[in-house]
């Protein structure tokens, strides 16, 4: 990795990164994988969704992990970001729901149960 040697370097790197993010038209599937999320089956949800995406040959789907999403009562939780739309957060993502998220929501844009409404503001 090239070193960052100044504040200007950092700003330049960030600009490039945020441009890349803005231009990314892929669907991003963000799975909560903190200790507790993993314990409640987050990794299984990730594996099921990855398998479903490759089986159905859906193009332009990226998987990413994150830490705690703060909804312990609804673990495992999965956030789906489709370009140009508000992110949607699903809770209680067991294997069946993970399959549905890919088959119905990502592939066909059909609703899937278990959506957790946004109840916060970010600074």
């Amino acid at each position: 990795m090239e070193k960052i040697n100044s504040l200007a370097d950092l700003i330049k790197m960030r600009t490039q990164l945020s441009e890349a993010t803005a231009n990314n038209k892929n669907t991003i599937v963000n799975v909560s994988l903190g200790t507790c999320s993993i314990a409640s089956g987050g990794q299984t949800a990730m594996n099921v969704m990855k398998a479903a995406v490759s089986e159905l040959q859906i193009p332009g789907v990226e998987f990413t992990q994150s830490g705690c999403m703060c909804y312990c009562f609804a673990e495992p939780t999965v956030e789906v970001r489709i370009a140009g739309q508000d992110p949607v957060l699903f809770g209680y993502v067991d294997e069946a729901r993970a399959q549905q998220i890919v088959e119905r929501f990502i592939k066909n844009g059909e609703p899937v149960e278990g959506v957790i409404p946004v109840n916060y503001q970010i600074c």
């Binding site: 950092l10 790197m13 200790t35 994150s66 705690c68």
Partner: protein, 488 residues
């Protein structure tokens, strides 16, 4: 739509970015506060900005962070240290783990900023070995930061050097106390020593040391990016910003929440938390874990901040919030917390070592129906003595769960002592399981599930429980489909 009650500063990135990817952090203004600090600001500017923000330590004590940094900055020494206290051990609190697993770079960046502000070049994170994923992600964050040059020599082309190492704790609760933490880091026993000197004067290896909690550090970068005035505009008069609470117990939406200081318990438990599980009645909420106290329905409209909680006989602590309903016995709850502190006392000072054991024994007597009125007096006077004489915060706050439950649930203690009953139906020694003859259909389900075979009766005839043999396990009570077994 109603306005969101939650406002996320500490958990701003948790659940949104990949914690193992430094680029994800940089993409959302990561390390800009550090780069700006070492490039455009003096250490005094940083201390002043943090002081202006009004940020207070989130580990529990609530000491003003800016003042702590200022003291460490003003103490001259050839070497100073920054320490991050990640020894989270309160029952039911897990916000530090969530931050370290979800946004480790925010802590790395804040530690470097603190180092610049106080003149330290070495930072150490004291983290418990029971947090392996947090350790893995934090270590990766540190390595990536070094590779990118945001940690190490001459950060961002300035003359400022800073690096971070990890020290693992074995999970002793007392090591969250800062002097005990320092001794543990130095390879000594994790035992506290009396203050002063405070760590900001003579801490790690006897050098000026700024010790801050994970959550405190997670506030630093946003304060510098948005300004101390912005942060000071959130919260109450004396408690600024937000607080992360780990909402647990008998509440529907268990989880981490972050709310501005001054949010009421009512809003936290009934709006964000969704109310009590199973339509039961709210009874109390324990804040501050084993060092805090119980708040009741009378306190639901109290704005939560450091000072209001102390005025109510509880404390902020690290932000555990355990909700209890009508099925919880407050004497048993006090006993539970004493059991914890009795296990976790380091044993160095007598009031804590022996006092915890004696307090526990008295509670044990009361919950088993052997308590007397004199026991209540003993609890009060022993608690007062321990609070006055214990060496560190662990001992000084240990009696709080007892004192607060005795104050607000006096009649529940009285029921255990005067009537030998447990109104919530928890203390098994005071309970009897009885079969209601009118409801029993003689299905034999209870008799089959009883582990000591103390239920007798023929099929389709009323059964009876032999009280002398019954171990009060409650298996029959759970099994009966006809509500024919009651406990009282």
């Amino acid at each position: 739509m109603e306005t969101a009650k939650q406002y996320r500063i500490v958990t701003r990135n948790c659940g949104f970015i990949d914690p193992e990817n430094i680029e994800a952090y940089i993409g959302i203004r990561g390390y800009e506060a550090l780069a700006d600090a070492v490039t455009n600001k003096t250490p005094v500017d940083i201390v002043n900005e943090i002081k202006k923000s009004g940020l207070r330590g989130r580990g529990g004590g609530g000491f003003p962070t800016g003042l702590k940094w200022e003291i460490a900055a003003k103490n001259e020494a050839d070497q100073k240290y920054v320490v991050c206290n990640a020894d989270e051990g309160d029952p039911g609190a897990f916000m530090d783990r969530a931050v370290l697993e979800g946004d480790p770079h925010s802590v790395v960046e804040a530690m470097a900023i603190c180092g610049y502000a106080i003149g330290a070049t070495i930072g150490t994170v004291y983290i418990r070995a029971e947090y392996p994923l947090a350790i893995k992600r934090l270590q990766k964050a540190i390595n990536d930061a070094r590779d990118l040059g945001v940690l190490g020599k001459g950060i961002f082309g300035s003359g400022f050097d800073f690096d971070i190492e990890l020290k693992y704790g074995a999970g002793a609760f007392v090591c969250g106390e800062e002097t005990a933490l320092i001794h543990s880091m130095e390879g000594e026993r994790g035992e506290p020593t009396s203050k002063p000197p405070f760590p900001a004067q003579a801490g790690y290896w006897g050098k000026p040391t700024a010790i801050n909690n994970v959550e405190t550090f997670a506030n630093i970068a946003p304060i510098l990016l948005k300004g101390g005035d912005w942060f000071a505009g959130i919260g109450t008069e004396k408690s600024k910003g937000t607080k992360v609470f780990a909402l647990a117990g008998k509440v529907k939406n268990v989880g981490l929440i972050e709310v501005p200081m001054g949010t009421t318990l009512e809003e936290i438990i009934f709006e964000i938390g969704g109310g009590i599980l199973g339509g039961k009645k709210f009874k109390a909420v324990q804040t501050g874990g084993p060092s805090g106290g119980a708040l009741t329905f009378k306190d639901l409209d109290t704005p939560i901040d450091y000072d209001n909680l102390i005025a109510k006989g509880s404390m902020m602590g690290s932000g555990g919030m355990i909700v209890m309903d009508e099925d919880d016995c407050m004497v048993a709850v006090a006993k539970f917390f004493l059991d914890f502190t009795m296990d976790e006392t380091c044993g160095k000072c007598t009031p804590c070592r022996i006092g915890s054991k004696r307090l526990y024994e008295i509670l044990e007597r009361i919950t088993s129906g052997q308590g007397t009125k004199a026991d209540l007096k003993r609890l009060t006077s022993l608690s007062a003595t321990i609070k006055d004489t214990a060496l560190c915060g662990l001992g000084q706050t240990m009696p709080n769960p007892i004192l607060s439950t005795m104050r607000v649930f006096e009649e529940e203690y009285a029921a255990h002592i005067d009537h030998r009953t447990c109104p919530a139906g928890v203390c098994s020694a005071l309970l009897q399981y009885l079969i209601v003859p009118e409801k029993c259909v003689g299905c034999t389900a209870c008799a089959r599930v009883c582990p000591v075979n103390c239920i007798s009766g023929k099929v389709k005839e009323v059964h009876t429980i032999d009280q002398n043999t019954c171990i009060k396990c409650g298996a029959c009570f759970e099994k009966c489909k006809f509500d024919a077994i009651i406990k009282k």
